[in-house]
Symmetry: C2
Subunit: 308 residues, 2 copies
């Protein structure tokens, strides 16, 4: 694996140069949807982005709700030879974007129109054409909303083995040695509405007895390659400003700790053992949630189903 | 506003009925990208989804990496009269999906191909055609990765006014009375790599002196409609299993508390005051982050820029 030195947002250069590839992203909402799609597509160019063989600047414009601002952005995009990717719920705005892009020679893509049309014709209903936050939209305090907020509150309280007496209230309990990404995984899943608790495994310290008393189907074991873990623990050192390495990042110690964890996992065969080496947080979360939903409702093809 | 009784995942019926609208979502990765896009599009039908005038079931299939599984899913989609929305990085898989959908009469949409092609021709480079997690992909422990994990660790530690001495290390500090969504906002932004601290404002308790000593440009004030806040606090009561309402959800008390908060905000004019009433977490986060980036780098059009 590679410790990559990437550039990040603070070093964005001034954007006058035309030699850089620019992507303008416009939404009448938050812009997170178009941002997510562009990031997925960009990952298809990782091979050249990582070594700077190619590079790209993205510019996210959110809450673009009037034609004037839209036109100004598209004019800028034209000057910068940028492309434009947009989600605009109002068909008139989407049409205006398209026309202006054609006028200014800006390559463009509508990321909301096609999927909305497809859903509309499938459901045989007409889309509202109203952006989120449009006046006239009713504000809904849904169960879903409360569920998420509760999940986040719960998950934060239960971080790092706190309050074992609450473990039975968790939808998902993660166990693993230090730096197997238990905490970021927990908050990521909490955002999606799952109550997550995590319990650290430490060599020489018994896990809380409550862990073995709760529904064992809710427990997920995390495992990781020792060298990879060492690199992560070293990085943590640097962050904490500790200079002298201790047992925590010593490879022998790491091996013994992972060994202890594996033995515990073997003794608890109901816990799925999930490899986190080289996986992004959202990838591990996807694996866990697929098993979680599969255990609740068996399908031939594991899936995450929801009803709206 | 409305307290909505929605149905949620636990009550998903068995999926044999053809009268329900089904959306199959397929990804060779996690599926979160296609899920995000479908959710954005579905929100255009909120008007009928909320009152059950229309309804839809979504089924997310992740890590679909072989043609056999893909074909099986599409056959099922055909039987269920579902539509299929997919992100498949391998062009051969995407093509196979398209062909099979045509064969089985399944309406379909490729959510990755068009955006990837557009980026490729803009950057004049060829996409890899490899799904995330494909063997042969190098595993990168990027600065970005560590930055996110650190941000989450920091943010969790700083929740609810803890460790005021660390406030100066935060990128963003949120202040507001109880239940103005400080905690879920903090973890949402942490996920995106920002270190967030939050400080509760409580009537009769002075905020920590450190709040006034740090860079005031990093502080964001949250405000909310009193009736809305009361509804949220009542809901919290139910969750906590407390039956008798106290000052916490008393409207007069809430008004006094919000009044105290507004006065503090007036005294600290550098803090942008952000209205959270009726906003989803990601909407408030978008507003805050737009200001955050704008303060770091002034543009005529506020934007969030990144370099890849
Ligand atoms: N709750 C919602 N109601 C209406 N439109 C929404 C909603 N959420 C997202 N959208 C629309 O979906 C697109 C993507 O949203 P966003 O991710 O906020 O940029 C935008 O055009 C939004 O207007
Ligand atoms: N880091 C990555 N490398 C390669 N492809 C990716 C990456 N992240 C996402 N993708 C692709 O983008 C699409 C959406 O990803 P996901 O959100 O995980 O379903 C899938 O086709 C993935 O294969
Ligand atoms: Mg942790
Ligand atoms: Mg809180």
């Amino acid at each position: 694996f590679i410790l990559d030195e990437d550039v990040g947002e603070d070093t964005v250069p001034s954007f006058s140069s035309n030699s850089e590839n620019s992507i303008y992203m416009v939404s009448d909402g938050t812009g997170w949807t178009v941002d997510h799609s562009v990031q997925a597509a960009l990952s298809q160019f990782e091979y050249c982005l990582a070594d700077r063989g190619c590079s790209v600047n993205t510019h996210l414009f959110s809450e673009v709700n009037d034609v004037e601002r839209l036109m100004e952005i598209i004019r800028d995009a034209g000057k910068e030879h940028a492309i434009l990717v947009y989600t605009l719920a109002d068909p008139a705005m989407a049409e205006a974007a398209k026309k202006a892009c054609q006028l200014h020679g800006v390559s463009h893509l509508d990321m909301l129109g096609p999927i909305t049309e497809l859903l509309g014709s499938h459901m045989r209903v007409t889309p509202m054409g109203l952006p989120r936050g449009a006046s006239g939209r009713k504000v809904v305090l849904s169960k879903e909303y409360f569920k998420r907020i509760e999940a986040v509150d719960f998950t934060i309280k239960q971080d790092d083995g706190a309050f074992p007496k609450n473990l039975h209230k968790a939808d998902v309990v993660l166990v693993g040695v230090s730096r197997t990404s238990k905490t970021p995984l927990s908050t990521y899943m909490a955002q999606k509405g799952y109550k997550v608790a995590n319990v650290p495994l430490v060599l020489g310290v018994d896990p809380p007895k409550e862990l073995f008393a709760i529904d064992q189907n809710r427990i997920y074991a995390l495992t990781i390659n020792p060298n990879f873990l060492q690199a992560i623990r070293f990085a943590r050192y640097k962050t904490l400003g500790v200079s002298k390495p201790s047992a925590y990042s010593d490879l022998d110690h790491i091996r013994r700790e992972l060994d202890y964890a594996s033995k515990l996992f073997v003794q608890n065969p109901k816990w799925p053992v999930i490899e986190v080496t080289g996986k992004a947080i959202e990838e591990t979360a996807a694996v866990i949630l697929r098993i979680y939903h599969d255990r609740k409702k068996k399908h031939v093809m594991p899936r995450i189903s929801r009803r709206y």
